[in-house]
């Protein structure tokens, strides 16, 4: 592994650990590629329009600084040499990454890169060179060396101090990101003066950043010295409800009054999140319990949405003008019928084929819904409009607008969670788990594969139909273009990110993947880029998801250490903290 630095000097300083420069150069090159990607794909220039700390740093600059700093840090992480070697390695790696950006500026000043890459604009070069234009091409190089060396020095700090600094910086970034959202409600509360001190309309003020940093570090130190996690684990497991129950009550109340305290924009966002939580819980039965990857979820979503649309619409294509509540059972029923109809032939086939076949269904339904063939019935691309809201209330009522959808979706989610929880331990639930683990063995133990899978598939379809019904009521219309494969992928992604088979995981996944992108509409272009990276990263580094169910966790980590679940959980936390 350790190839000594070639040259006459290397042998004479043998007692010192030889400075292996190859991995450092490699990491520097990778860091340069990542930084270049961030620039050209547009993340740096687009995010640059949004300040993180007003007058100090923008989000785009933060992305670049993080990328260069991380390059230096990764390069020195595994180094065992002296402080000097660390600074040198960090500076070298950061310098290489910076040099790539310098090269971009230089090349861009000669070749019209913009003809190919939209973002290789003079604004980007100005940003990279601190406004010096192309004559300042050396600036990224110097910045890279400085940040890399700084990162090398950072790795010398005691882990605990380093952790505190991480928490501080992360808090500043989060506060900066959410500045607008936190500021608005604070302004109309007794904390108005605090809000004015911390935030300006565009972002965090420098004073606000310093205060945030200090508070975050202090809180983190408090948490560590008092080690709340260990104290919780010290509570015997049969007494833990005394801690959990009050927390659960507080959380439930908070969830229930949430839309009443926030503005209408927020209410819309959390209504969408709740809708996806509901659909995620539904697909969780199909995917998480039975292990069937259904990419045609959107087909049943469409059946539900169109059923409600047709039965309730007061517009051109409405056929019955029923109320939402009368239409919902039919929406669910038709979705199940479709599930049975589509599921019957395909459930005999293998897992990955099933994913493709179901995706094919989704596409078929989408094209049919928008086609001239079904236009007299479904309205073609113009869709069905004028779908009434479930509760007909005046605009200032507490159930007005998206709020009622939020509560309906919440109730639906609770119902589905309850069903999933009850099914899990049942005969059927265990049959599903057996199929998920190994189809052949499951069949050998007397489980009828097709029928058991069909039940999971139909249940998933029912919940998708319910989701579609609620969606139609939320938006007030349903078009063929709402039925995109992306809906299916969204639901699959949130389950995977949250943790397959885990109910809190679905909630966390929906907040991360649906809620956050809705809040940052200005970056919506990069939403699916982020999804893609999240899926790959989850599969590589944390296939069990962010909040895995205890069973999955045990299954995935039992090979590593035969410990009881609590200890395994503790080990995982420790492992995370070390990494």
């Amino acid at each position: 592994m350790t190839r000594a630095l070639a040259g006459p000097g290397a042998a004479t300083v043998a007692p010192r650990v030889a400075f292996d420069w190859r991995p450092v150069v490699r990491i520097g090159a990778i860091g340069g590629a990542v930084s270049l990607y961030l620039c050209l794909v547009g993340i740096v220039p687009v995010f640059n329009q949004r300040p993180l700390i007003i007058g100090v740093i923008s989000l785009g600059q933060t992305a670049l600084v993080l990328s260069l700093f991380a390059t230096g840090f990764v390069a020195t992480r595994k180094l065992t040499g002296t402080a000097g070697a660390r600074f040198l390695a960090g500076g070298l790696a950061g310098g290489i990454a910076g040099a790539v950006l310098s090269a971009l500026v230089l090349v861009g000043s000669v070749v019209p890169l913009r003809n190919v890459f939209l973002n290789a604009s003079p604004e980007l070069y100005d940003l990279l060179t601190f406004g010096l234009g192309t004559s300042g091409f050396w600036a990224p190089l110097v910045t890279g060396i400085a940040l890399g060396a700084l990162a090398g020095g950072f790795s010398l700090l005691r882990p605990r101090l380093r952790r505190s600094l991480y928490v501080g910086f992360l808090s500043v970034v989060i506060m900066g990101l959410f500045a607008g959202l936190i500021r608005t409600p604070l302004l109309s509360s007794p904390l108005e003066n605090l809000a004015r001190l911390l935030f300006a309309p565009e972002g965090l003020t420098p004073v606000g950043a310093v205060i945030t940093f200090a508070v975050a570090v202090a809180l983190n130190e408090y948490r560590r010295t008092n080690d709340l996690g260990r104290r919780y684990r010290a509570v015997p497991s049969d007494r833990r409800w005394t801690v959990i129950a009050p927390a659960a009550v507080v959380l439930s109340i908070a969830v229930l009054i949430l839309p009443q305290t926030l503005g209408s924009f927020f209410a819309q966002v959390i209504a969408i999140v709740a809708l996806y939580v509901m659909m995620g819980l539904g697909l969780n039965i199909t995917l998480g319990l039975a292990g069937l990857l259904d990419l045609g979820f959107v087909a049943f979503f469409a059946v539900g949405a169109y059923t409600v649309g047709l039965l309730t619409s007061t517009g051109e294509y409405g056929i019955a003008q029923w109320s939402f509540w009368a239409a919902v059972p039919f929406a669910v029923f038709f979705a199940m019928l479709f599930g049975a109809f589509l599921g019957l032939p395909i459930l005999g086939i293998r897992g990955d084929y099933l994913a493709i076949a179901t995706m094919g269904f989704g596409e078929i339904i989408r094209i049919l819904a928008g086609s001239d063939l079904l236009k007299p019935l479904l309205g073609g691309p113009r869709g069905i409009t004028n779908i009434p809201k479930p509760f007909d209330v005046p605009p200032d009522h507490w159930l007005a607008g998206p709020n009622q959808i939020y509560y309906i979706a919440l109730a639906g989610a609770a119902l589905i969670a309850f069903i999933a929880w009850r099914l899990r331990g049942s005969h059927l639930g265990r049959a599903w788990l057996a199929i998920r683990e190994d189809e052949d063995v499951a069949e050998a133990t007397g489980i009828n594969l097709v029928q058991t899978k069909l039940l999971a598939y139909i249940l998933g379809a029912a919940f998708a139909g319910l989701g579609g019904a609620v969606f139609a009521a939320l938006v007030g219309s349903i078009f063929a273009s709402s039925i995109q494969l992306i809906v299916s992928i969204n639901v699959v992604a949130l389950i995977i990110v949250g943790g397959m088979g885990s109910i809190p995981g679905v909630v966390v996944g929906a907040i991360f993947l649906i809620g956050l992108p809705e809040l940052f509409r200005e970056f919506s272009e990069y939403r699916y880029l982020f999804y893609g990276f999240a899926l790959i990263a989850m599969m590589r580094f944390r296939p069990e998801g962010l909040l895995p169910s205890r069973v999955t966790l045990r299954e995935l980590h039992v090979a590593e250490n035969e410990q009881p679940p609590d200890a395994a959980e503790g080990a995982l936390v420790a492992q995370e903290e070390a990494g």
Partner: protein
């Protein structure tokens, strides 16, 4: 006893349902075709034009399908991001074409046009191949021994990353390929008048497929790939570098996809960040149709799918008086995908890979 009886009943019901499905599909195809043909609305020339365009499209599907089938053969994994590799070829070809057009070379003479297409394909391959290897390195290699769904989900992620990377790099707009006059000239071949473009697409697709076939069947590396497809562990014991065989497979697929990207965009004269998605899924259909893991199968499946898609809407649906049947060509393609998966998952030529291990 009671439970057993219910199971029997559902089993019979499922069997009846599947048979009914077969009968319905066959009825639609036969009756629809008969009605269309009897109506006499379409001349022989229309049909032959449809066949030629089906052949052109089909040979492009076949090129893409080869990448799916070879990767599936060697890793048992659906390379969902393959369509996006194809897009990279289409974009590379576009930028080269624009460059050549701006210096006036693209339409200078028929020879210059031909040379331009060759350069476009070469650059497309030079872009798509390293890209595919990068995806393999980042998203697939670390997951080689994971359960089946894990690499599939990672591949879906890679597909999204690539699509939205193109969007970020090149913008959301649709780019029009510069027109190449020579490609639209008509050649009289056997009583038919066929565009140069169609001849070029079919000829280059055939050349590449023959090349690939020879590579896989005659070279040492090709033998290694076939051995690894057969049995990874045993191949490794025989001293075959499994990793190199897998990487070569990805590279071969990317070469085909990059070239197909240029040909497809010349045919449809446009490219945007989602260009590769639908052809990708259809090429997968073609691979399954021919028998996944089977190289001649992928070629056959691609050509067959091209014909069905080209002739199908008119032949099967027009007779029923379906309005604008061409809107439904993807429905026909995807229905065929589902039907093949249900009734003959081993494809037309049968799966070369032992099914027991799948």
């Amino acid at each position: 006893m009671q439970v057993g009886a219910i199971e029997r009943v559902t089993e019979v019901a499922i069997a009846v349902f599947l048979w009914a499905l077969r009968v319905v599909v066959i009825l639609v195809v036969v009756v629809g075709s008969a009605l269309t043909l009897m109506s006499g609305r379409y001349s022989l020339e229309t049909w032959s034009n449809l066949v030629v365009s089906g052949l052109t499209l089909g040979s492009i599907y076949a090129l893409i399908a080869l990448g799916y089938t070879m990767v599936y053969g060697i890793l048992r994994m659906i390379n969902f991001a393959h369509g996006e590799i194809f897009t990279s070829g289409a974009f590379a070809g576009y930028f080269i074409a624009v460059g050549l057009n701006s210096v006036g070379f693209l339409n200078a003479s028929p020879l210059a046009s031909l040379l331009s297409v060759v350069i476009m394909i070469a650059v497309a391959i030079a872009i798509s191949t390293p890209l595919a290897l990068l995806v393999e390195r980042i998203a697939y290699r670390p997951l080689r021994n994971a359960p089946r769904l894990v690499p599939l989900i990672s591949a879906i992620g890679a597909s999204y990353v690539l699509q939205y990377t193109y969007r970020g790099l090149f913008g959301p707009g649709i780019y029009s390929y510069p027109s190449v006059a020579w490609l639209n000239e008509l050649l009289p071949i056997g009583g038919l008048r066929i565009r140069v473009l169609d001849v070029l697409v079919v000829a280059s697709a055939i050349a590449m497929m023959v090349g690939l076939y020879l590579f896989v069947m005659r070279t040492k590396m090709g033998t290694a790939i076939r051995a690894v497809s057969e049995d990874k562990e045993t191949a490794a014991l025989m001293g075959i570098d499994v990793n190199r065989a897998i990487v070569t497979t990805f590279a071969l697929g990317a070469v085909m996809a990059g070239a197909a990207g240029v040909l497809y965009s010349l045919l449809y004269t446009q490219v945007y960040y989602l260009t590769g998605f639908i052809p990708g899924i259809k090429a997968f259909t073609a691979a399954v149709l021919g028998g996944i893991g089977n190289i001649p199968g992928a070629m056959l499946g691609g050509l067959f799918l091209g014909q069905v898609e080209s002739i199908g809407p008119t032949l099967f649906l027009d007779g029923f008086g379906v309005p604008s049947p061409n809107q439904l060509k993807d429905v026909i393609a995807f229905t065929m995908l589902v039907l093949v998966l249900v009734f003959r998952p081993s494809g037309i030529l049968g799966e070369r890979i032992a099914k027991a291990r799948a």
